[in-house]
């Protein structure tokens, strides 16, 4: 059963998230339409820039989200290892998971397969978005909600 995008946005707002940045992903298109109506959303030119802005917002007292496609996860590895993880910034990344099957476009095959291993290697706690998302992620450390195509309606 798909999850309603508005329910996910409500859950984020209820959990106190009040700032978001990111780079678009088709899988997150609905979320990118709704989220900016409920909190500050700043489009980033690259995923690491989004992480940087989220950290700045957190330093200023906000609770940030970062949205991206898994193809952009590689772009922010240094931002994660030498900024968010190093300074212990609580950050929730919402990552569209392209290439979870080989039916997706070829440019997504390799990162699609490596996404879980990459998150694990970095020490980012993650889970796939499903009905249990609301209690899945705590406030300590970097964590990620990975979203497959068709899960968000």
């Amino acid at each position: 059963v798909p999850i309603k995008t508005s329910d996910l946005v409500d859950a984020f707002v209820e959990q106190g998230y009040d700032f978001a940045s990111g780079v678009p992903c088709t899988i997150l298109a609905g979320l990118l339409r709704q989220l900016p109506k409920r909190m500050t959303y700043v489009p980033a030119t690259r995923e690491d820039e989004a992480v940087g802005m989220a950290v700045g917002a957190w330093l200023g007292g906000k609770k940030p989200l970062v949205l991206m496609q898994n193809s952009g996860l590689g772009n922010c590895v240094n931002a994660l290892t030498s900024l968010t993880l190093l300074y212990r910034v609580p950050l929730l990344m919402v990552i569209g998971w392209r290439g979870d099957t080989k039916e997706d476009a070829p440019e997504h095959w390799i990162m699609g397969e490596k996404t879980p291993a990459l998150l694990d290697a970095l020490g980012v706690r993650w889970r796939e978005l499903d009905g249990g998302y609301m209690k899945a992620l705590g406030d300590d450390g970097v964590s990620a909600l990975v979203v497959k195509g068709g899960v968000l309606a």
């Binding site: 820039e49 802005m53 007292g61």
Partner: protein, 163 residues
Amino acid sequence: MGIERAIGDILEGLNGDELIVSTTGYTSRILFNIKDTPRNFYMLGSMGLALSIGVGLALSQPDKKVVVIDGDGACLMNLGSLATAGYLGLGNLSYYVLDNGAYASTGGQYTIAKKVSLKRVGKAVGLKMRLIKVGREHNGAMGRVNLLPQEVAERFRGCVGGH
């Protein structure tokens, strides 16, 4: 002008209640050694993200002044963040770039800022940059930032308040 002097001059022009984000390497070391305060956020890594951090901070603290001290190499690494900052046009954000034309912290390799005008890049994206030419020499004896990363973050958040 030496980089220590340039950072000292920037500080002299401030009221003292600004929030400062300093780029990784000697810039943060020098700031820490000249005048450490909880209002300084010393980057220890994530080269290229100083302005992004400053933008997030300026957006979330609109009543406070935010000062970002970057270097030419770090600025070149993330030109996209200049475009974002120019797009947002934040009145409470000041962006300084100390331009020594070199990656001083890794041995003085040259940057392409010698030929590429960062000022014109800033102009093109609508961002007012305060570019300061500095020499490559610096006091190598200045110690590292003697704080744990999470201490830097927590004391910074503590003095920003409002949470």
